[in-house]
């Protein structure tokens, strides 16, 4: 157990976005993050639009972009897919780990994930709810990108 934690501590997780309109899920993610990261900068967004606007603002102000995003699909105003679509248009150079969290078992969603994965330079994970634990690999893009 000593080694991975060391490894993470080497990985600087500056900030994390949680984009989900369900307060219970947000509560769960925050709780599960505690054992794997000491990152204090966790921002919560109710929908894709809020998160996207925040990204744009950060880029304009030259702030650090989040290293990890937890993204729900079914959300009002701008859903997870629309958020991804818009985000890919932004000139982001950093690789971000994006964890898609959904309770959907619609095969269409799985298919969309595959499409996005192939045209996206970020790390795209797909996780069906419920989740009980967040692995260190869910925060680490180097591990995934080998």
């Amino acid at each position: 157990m000593e080694q991975p934690s060391k490894y993470i501590s080497m990985m600087k997780v500056n900030s994390i976005f949680i984009v989900d309109d369900d307060p219970i899920t947000v509560f769960g993610i925050k709780r599960m993050l505690k054992p794997v990261t000491s990152c204090e900068d966790v921002e919560i967004f109710q929908n894709g639009k809020e998160a996207f606007d925040a990204l744009v603002t950060k880029m304009e102000q030259g702030d650090n972009l989040p290293n990890v995003i937890f993204l729900d699909i079914n959300m009002p105003i701008m859903d997870g897919w629309d958020f991804l679509e818009e985000m890919l248009q932004l000139p982001i150079e950093e690789r971000i780990v994006i964890n898609i969290l959904t309770s959907s078992i619609d095969p269409m969603d799985h298919q969309k994930w595959n499409e996005f994965k192939s045209k996206c330079s970020h790390v795209l994970n797909f996780k069906n709810k419920p989740i009980f634990k967040i692995e260190t690999s869910d925060l680490n893009c180097l591990n995934m990108a080998s």
């Binding site: 219970i24 769960g28 709780r31 009002p76 309770s103 959907s104 078992i105 619609d106 419920p130 009980f132």
Partner: protein, 609 residues
């Protein structure tokens, strides 16, 4: 004396008008008349006596005739340079005044002309006989005075009686078939006897051998001195003609019956696409008599467009000589009636194999087409329903799964959590998750109810009144937000609806308009309605935030889809009313412009339908 006598005698003979020759007992020509010389072309020279045998060389047993001492006659031929003469010679014994047999007197007549006439007559008779045999035309003759009836051989043959048969009038009439034929001939015979009225009639006889056959019997009176003396007539076997005629008529009848009673429109057109034959079905379809249709082209009967298409098809068949088979066509009559046909056009050739028109066969498939459309409509409905069901299944699974996922997660947290404050927090969350699940279940139930209770009773509801009622129910909300409602619906308009659904639709549309009002304007709702093709269209317009339809167009009626940052928004109202409207056979559409407002168009079935 003797010489004088001889001379006198000689001179007498010389002058005889009939060719005469005196022949001695030994056959020597003693003396001949000038007419004999002319006939036989010979001269008598006492120095070279001529034996008569040399002249009658081709007559057999000449001696018997010469020496028989009796008068005899023979017919014989005389070959002359250019012709052969028929002669008749009479041999008479020649006695002197003492009754001594001196020889024979031969007198010869030129009977060539009579023989010619005789031969001619025989030829004519033979010709007549063969002609009557070949043409099967016999004849008959009836003598009024003697009441004798004559039948020629052919007439007898037609009656199949032996040539020895001798008919009488009664027998002849009885040969005719009992009934019409016999009655008719009796009447005609009576008339010709009394008035001399000629007749010519096709009748049936029963022959001597019992065969039935058709004959043409004709008669004409021969009148002498104003009185009918004889009847003459012909008798012809026309059985074969009548039989083939009957066969042709039978075939024609069969064909006409067949074509006329086919449940298909049949027509024949010439090379100019003019109709030259139409059957009953075609006449009935066009509502015209055959006479009115013959000679007409499609341009006289159908819409111009349709007629042109049809003419092009005709020309194609005429040009390629290939039939068009089972083509689906649409025909529009001048009165605008539209019929779907399955049409075939087949080239029609004359006996020499040259095309001279075409046969058209059309089957009216309008009812089948209508059924097909209904079926297609049903399939569409079914597939829409199916899509809705799948969608609903996903909604159910997604919503239930998200709650159950939350339960699992929270319970797992609870298991491993020992901190009391943290445990209470998790328990709170569990309670919230349970409430959410209950609400979701009740929402889903509502939707299931709509889609299962499609047989709820619809009633005519006055739309204006229903709107006023909804306004009263929402009075508190509307007052609080100072909403202006302009209800412009005509009081005469009623819709056919399930009362609870109409209430739900109006309440949801109103609360929706209030929820998404613009903070910059006083909320205003304008409601109008109009009748359209058996439907009532309700227009529900607000001046609120509006929605970007290009972006959310297909999602606005989705379940749990919300598009504004609004705490009250649950994304269920529009999903619910769309289900209610569609369950009643209606439709809901949306039109919107961001920051201007939104118009919902709801189609109901008209109360009067």
């Amino acid at each position: 004396m003797k010489a004088v006598e001889k001379i006198e005698q000689h001179y007498l003979i010389k002058q005889l008008p009939k060719a005469t020759a005196l022949v001695s007992n030994d056959g020597t020509l003693m003396d001949v008349s000038d007419s004999w010389k002319e006939l036989f072309g010979k001269k008598i020279n006492p120095k070279s006596p001529i034996n008569v045998r040399s002249i009658f060389s081709d007559v057999e047993n000449l001696d018997i005739k010469l020496l028989g001492g009796q008068t005899k006659s023979i017919r014989h031929q005389l070959k002359r340079e250019t012709e052969i003469l028929w002669l008749e010679s009479h041999f008479t014994p020649w006695f002197d005044d003492k009754e001594n047999l001196m020889g024979t007197i031969i007198q010869t007549d030129n009977i060539s002309r009579e023989i010619e006439a005789e031969l001619q007559l025989e030829r004519v008779n033979t010709m007549l006989r063969s002609k009557s045999e070949v043409s099967k035309v016999g004849c008959w003759e009836f003598d009024i005075k003697s009441e004798e009836l004559f039948w020629c051989d052919e007439t007898k043959k037609i009656h199949q009686v032996p040539s020895s048969f001798v008919p009488n009038v009664n027998e002849a009439i009885n040969f005719y078939k009992q009934g019409y034929s016999r009655n008719k001939i009796s009447m005609l015979f009576h008339k010709i006897l009394n008035d001399g009225k000629p007749f010519c009639q096709k009748l049936q006889i029963i022959t001597h051998r019992g065969e039935e056959r058709w004959v043409q019997s004709a008669g004409k009176a021969i009148i002498e001195n104003g009185e009918i003396v004889r009847l003459f007539g012909t008798f012809q076997d026309i059985n074969e003609e009548m039989e083939s005629e009957a066969k042709i008529k039978g075939n024609e009848q069969l064909l006409t019956t067949l074509i006329d009673n086919l449940p298909l429109n049949v027509f024949v057109k010439d090379l100019d696409s003019k109709k030259i034959l139409v059957n009953k079905a075609e006449c009935e379809y066009l509502g015209k008599t055959p006479e009115e249709l013959l000679g007409k082209s499609d341009f006289d009967l159908y819409d111009k467009e349709v007629a042109k298409i049809s003419r092009d098809e005709d020309l194609e068949v005429i040009r390629t000589l290939k039939p068009i088979l089972g083509k689906e066509t649409i025909s529009i009559k001048k009165d605008g009636q539209i019929t779907n046909f399955l049409t075939s056009k087949i080239p029609l050739f004359d006996i020499d194999g040259k095309i001279n028109g075409l046969i058209g066969i059309s089957m009216d498939i309008t009812p089948i087409k209508k059924k097909e459309e209904q079926l297609q409509h049903l399939i569409n409905i079914t597939s829409v329903q199916n899509k809705k069901l799948i969608n609903f299944a996903h909604i159910v699974s997604h919503n239930l799964r998200s709650h159950s996922a939350n339960f699992s997660m929270l319970l797992q947290f609870l298991n491993s959590e020992e901190n009391e404050a943290e445990r209470n927090k998790i328990l709170n969350m569990l309670e919230q998750a349970s409430d959410n699940l209950l609400e979701t279940l009740s929402n889903l139930n509502e939707v299931v109810d709509i889609n299962t209770n499609i047989n709820l009773k619809k009633a005519p509801i006055q739309l204006n009144h229903a709107i006023t009622k909804a306004q009263q129910n929402l009075a508190a909300l509307l007052d609080k937000n100072k909403v202006i409602i302009e209800n412009q619906v005509d009081k005469g308009i009623s819709v056919l609806s399930i009362p609870a659904y109409l209430d739900s639709i109006l309440l949801n549309l109103m609360t929706n308009a209030v929820k998404y009002r613009s903070p910059d304007r006083q909320p205003k709702i304008t409601i109008t309605a109009k009748r359209m093709e058996g439907k009532i269209m309700l227009d529900f317009t607000d001046n609120g935030l509006g929605i970007d339809l290009e972006r959310y167009g297909d999602k606005i009626f989705g379940m749990y889809k919300t598009f504004h940052n609004n705490k009250d928004a649950k994304g269920f109202g529009l999903y619910l009313i769309r289900n209610q409207i569609e369950a009643m056979g209606g439709q809901i559409l949306v039109d919107s412009k961001v920051d201007h407002g939104t118009t919902f168009k709801v189609y109901f079935n008209d109360e009067s339908k």
